[in-house]
Symmetry: C2
Subunit: 221 residues, 2 copies
C-alpha cells in the first residue's frame, strides 16, 4: 500500500493521485498544508515540496521523480505514448504545466487567494491576481488550440499530459476562475477528463475554509 | 547531425550539451539570446524556452522532454542508474536544480546580472542579488552534504544529476559568485565534473560583454 503525503491545493499531488488511480495503484492519503509543512516533511524531502510517495519503507519526493517512477514501475497501464517522439511531446506539455503554468498562473492566483490567507492572513494583492488571470487566458487559448487539433493534449490518446494539465486546471476551477465558455474545445476536453473514474476523488476534494465553485464537481458545467 | 538552439547563459542548454557529449552525439550550436528570442524560436517552441533540439526534420523543446528523449534514444551510454529507486533519486536531484535552484538562485543572480543588462540596460537590484547569494549558500551546503555522502550527487556513479547540477553551477561560477573554499566536498565534486571531456566546451563558453571569473576554466581552482 502506498501512502501519499499531499494537499488538495497542490497540483503535483493531484497529478500523482490521478496517475495512481489510472494505474490502479491502491493508496491512502495524509494531508500536509504547503504553507505550514511539518518537520517530518522536511526530513523526507528537504526541498519541502508535495507530494511525497511512501511505500514499503521507501520514499520518493519530487513530482518528476515520482511520476516517472510510476511509469517505469507499472508497465501494464501506460500513460505515455508508445512512440518515442510522441513521448517527447507528452513530456513537453507536462513541463509546460508543471513549470510555466505553475509559475505564471498558480503562483499568482492560488498563492494570493489561498496561501496568503492561511500563512499571513492577508488579502490577495489585486494587481498580482490580475496578472495571473490574464496569464490564465493565454494558457486556456493554448489548451483550446491543442484540444482542437487532437483528441487529447499531446495526441490522439489520453496521456500524462492530460493528467497534468487537468490537475493544474482543476485547482483554478475550484476557485471558479476559469471562463470555460470562452474556450469551447478546452471545455470539451476537460469534460472528458472530468468523467474519468480516476478524477472522481479530485471532484470530491475540499480545501479547508474555501468552498468550491458551483460547477466544480458537475460533469455538465 | 543535431542542431541545438541554445545560449551559454541557459543552464538547460548547458545540461543538454553536456549530456549529448557524454552520449557521443554530434551536434552543432546556434545561439539565441533568451532576453531577445526571435520569432523562429517561438514558432518551434511557444513556451519560449531554450534549448531546442532539431534533427532530421524533427524538433523537441523543453529541457525535460529533450533529456528524457536522449536517455531513451541512446541506450549505449546511460546517464541514469540501473536501479529504479536510484533513478528516482537522480531525477529528484535534477528537479532540485531545474526548478528549485533555478527559481531561488538563477532567477535572482543571473536575471539581475545578465538579463537585465541586455534587455532593459538597468543595473542589478542589490536586494534581489543578496537574496540570491544567500540562497546560493544554502544550495551549496546541500551539494556539499551530498558530495560528502557519495562519490556523485545521486549515488556512487556519475549521472544526469551531476550533469544538471554542474550545468547550473557553472553559470554562477562564470560570474565568480561561488565561494568554493567554504564547501570542500562540493569543490572536490565540481573539480571531478570539470575534468570530464564533456565539460571542455562549457569551460570555453563566453557570454557577450561579460568576462568569465579568473578561475572559471581552471581545473585547479
Amino acid at each position: 500500500m502506498v501512502l501519499l503525503i499531499h494537499h488538495s491545493a497542490s497540483p503535483f499531488s493531484r497529478k500523482i493521485r490521478i496517475q495512481m488511480s489510472e494505474k490502479k495503484v491502491l493508496f491512502v492519503l495524509k494531508e500536509e498544508e504547503p504553507w505550514n509543512l511539518s518537520q517530518d516533511v522536511y526530513k523526507l524531502n528537504p526541498a519541502g515540496t508535495l507530494p511525497i510517495f511512501l511505500y514499503d519503507g521507501n520514499f520518493i519526493s519530487g513530482n518528476y521523480a515520482i511520476s516517472e517512477y510510476l511509469e517505469e514501475f507499472i508497465k501494464e497501464i501506460r500513460l505515455y505514448p508508445e512512440d518515442i517522439k510522441q513521448r517527447a511531446e507528452t513530456r513537453r506539455i507536462i513541463e509546460w504545466f508543471d513549470v510555466k503554468f505553475y509559475d505564471e498562473v498558480y503562483k499568482k492566483i492560488v498563492f494570493e487567494k489561498i496561501y496568503k490567507r492561511f500563512s499571513s492572513g492577508s488579502a490577495p494583492d489585486s494587481k498580482t491576481l490580475k496578472v495571473g488571470l490574464n496569464n490564465l487566458n493565454y494558457h486556456l487559448e493554448y489548451v483550446d488550440w491543442l484540444a482542437e487539433k487532437n483528441n487529447y493534449l499531446s495526441g490522439e490518446s489520453f496521456s500524462l499530459a492530460d493528467v497534468t494539465a487537468a490537475a493544474h486546471l482543476s485547482i483554478i476551477d475550484y476557485l471558479g476562475d476559469i471562463p470555460w465558455d470562452n474556450y469551447k474545445n478546452a471545455k470539451l476536453w476537460y469534460s472528458k477528463i472530468k468523467s474519468r473514474p480516476s478524477f472522481k476523488d479530485i471532484l470530491k476534494d475540499t480545501i479547508r475554509g474555501i468552498l468550491p465553485s458551483k460547477h466544480y464537481a458537475n460533469l455538465d458545467f
